[in-house]
């Protein structure tokens, strides 16, 4: 598009009787595609019979366009609208929110018990996380697992969607009941990271179920029976939980390759 071909060259290009070597022909043609000015020059050099023919073709095309169907409206492709996952996740999140709501109510009704919101916080995100990466819940799991988008990044996006609902609910619950905000949210994040990290080895769903059951049996049940908040959830442990979360997240990053295969979908 730097130098325009001379008017003489364009005239020879337009004239079917004039001879023009192939290389020049090509370069003129490429130039014409991108240069309106030279196309205008070309029109002036086209023989009359060709111009008549072109006019006839243009009129015919216009007629056909006018007579044909109206063009379909351009569809805007939006991954969000088509994101099956968000819709399928809703029932699970509703359940989680309902359970946490009950915990808040119970806590108000039975103040002698340790904070149920704090006790349940670590396992609150697990049903959603298990759902997010399970072949049982994604009918197209095998198709999805073979795509470039599948992997840790996709799992983290889905986990973020779960946390976006669970974390505010936990925060609200803990302020309502006067429980420590840090000791509610940090164990929640640590268990989320643990489920993902363990998931690299045994599958995310299995890891989430295992962690949930272990926490319920080892911590929640004794706490409810003895009516005392376990030591691991005492406010002093916040730093330890934060460090644990970071360590687990780092480990998950190291195992990123495992999330590209089907085994992580167990």
């Amino acid at each position: 598009m730097t130098t325009h071909p001379s008017a003489a060259v364009i005239a020879r290009y337009a004239d079917p009787r004039a001879s023009l070597d192939e290389v020049t022909m090509w370069s003129v043609e490429v130039h014409l595609e991108g240069c309106a000015h030279c196309r205008a020059v070309l029109v002036g050099r086209v023989p009359d019979d060709t111009r008549v023919l072109l006019d006839r073709v243009a009129a015919g095309v216009d007629r056909a366009v006018a007579a044909g169907p109206v063009p379909a409206p351009r569809r805007r492709w939006s991954p969000v609208r088509n994101r099956w996952f968000v819709w399928r996740l809703l029932p699970w999140l509703t359940m989680t929110v309902a359970v946490l709501g009950c915990a808040v109510l119970l806590e108000a009704a039975a103040p002698h018990l340790p904070s149920l919101v704090t006790l349940l916080a670590p396992i609150a995100p697990l049903p959603g996380v298990a759902f997010a990466w399970s072949r049982r819940h994604d009918p197209a799991w095998e198709l999805v697992a073979g795509t470039p988008a599948a992997g840790l990044a996709m799992l983290l996006r889905r986990t973020a969607a779960v946390l976006a609902v669970v974390v505010p609910v936990l925060a609200l619950g803990s302020t309502r009941t006067g429980a420590s905000l840090a000791m509610t949210l940090l164990p929640c994040l640590a268990f989320t990271a643990a489920a993902i990290t363990l998931g690299a080895f045994v599958g995310v769903r299995v890891a989430a179920i295992g962690l949930g059951v272990a926490w319920a049996l080892a911590v929640v049940l004794p706490a409810v029976l003895t009516a005392r908040l376990p030591a691991v959830l005492e406010p002093g442990g916040a730093v330890a939980w934060a460090l644990l979360t970071l360590a687990l997240a780092g480990l998950a990053g190291l195992r990123a390759a495992d999330f590209r295969r089907l085994t992580s979908h167990h």
Binding site: W77, N82, A140, E142, L143, G146, P148, A149, R261
Partner: protein, 267 residues
């Protein structure tokens, strides 16, 4: 249809084979379903034959990169897809139709193929056009906006093929794609295979020897997780004799090769 040719497409291929397996071992659960397979596939349509349990589906899954090989080497489009491989680039060049594929019942055909195109990380602007083209190629134009749950078995399979070809894959893997297609659709499908196979590597697993003879440039026969035979369809037909089981020369060739392989393995 006009489309822009990307630099990646015109770049010289530096790999001799689109799919190259050397001593490949792949587990299906505890069982080693692919056991020391050597296979090299280039451009063309390769028909993968073998009895049930030969390891065809497991091989397909390994080549589709959804399961990790337990041993050996697997190279796809010049990149080794081992333990810690970043599979993203290879996967952009793959198309895969599993034997049983799930779908989202409330999606329309178009939404389903669009979603898959998006997961394959195609440029957003090219998705609507590529989806329309894929849907047209499998003959589902009239059903493009029908919900998946309203489709017949044959139509579902064609929707599955559409998502597999939407990204113009360099390696196309189809596991039993003709199941549920009626005879006329099978003929159209063979046409599509030949068309795609002109410039891509297509691996089609099937139990129908006639499909292979009609549509494939190359026959791959597997048994017990190993490669038994690789050759052109005409040569497969020449392997059989009058005494072998089958209704056509190719089927007789297929039975003869399997019988010989089993006899050797039995010794």
């Amino acid at each position: 249809m006009m489309r822009t040719v990307s630099a990646a497409e015109t770049a010289a291929t530096t790999h001799p084979w689109a799919v190259h397996a050397e001593g490949l071992r792949v587990r299906a659960g505890r069982h080693v379903a692919v056991d020391g397979l050597d296979l090299a596939l280039g451009t063309g349509v390769h028909g993968l034959l073998g009895p049930n349990g030969a390891g065809k589906t497991t091989l397909m899954r390994a080549v589709a990169t959804v399961v990790k090989p337990a041993g050996g080497r697997l190279t796809l489009l010049g990149e080794q897809v081992g333990d810690r491989a970043d599979l993203r680039r290879v996967r952009r060049g793959l198309g895969y139709l599993p034997q049983q594929f799930g779908f989202y019942p409330r999606f329309t055909v178009r939404e389903f193929v669009e979603y898959m195109a998006w997961l394959k990380e195609m440029p957003k602007a090219t998705i609507p056009g590529a989806v329309q083209r894929a849907v047209d190629r499998v003959g589902l134009t009239a059903k493009a906006d029908a919900r998946m749950k309203t489709l017949s078995g044959g139509m579902l399979r064609r929707a599955g093929i559409a998502q597999a070809i939407v990204n113009d894959p360099a390696v196309l893997l189809l596991d039993e794609p003709t199941v549920g297609l009626d005879p006329e659709q099978r003929l159209e499908f063979r046409e599509l295979l030949r068309d795609v196979g002109v410039d891509s590597c297509v691996l089609v697993s099937t139990h129908l020897v006639e499909d292979v003879v009609a549509a494939c440039t190359d026959v791959v026969l597997m048994n017990d997780g190993r490669l038994v035979y690789q050759g052109v369809p005409d040569d497969l037909a020449a392997q059989g004799g009058a005494g072998d089981a089958g209704d056509s020369p190719a089927e007789r060739g297929y039975s003869a090769l399997l019988r010989r392989h089993r006899a050797e393995a039995g010794r």
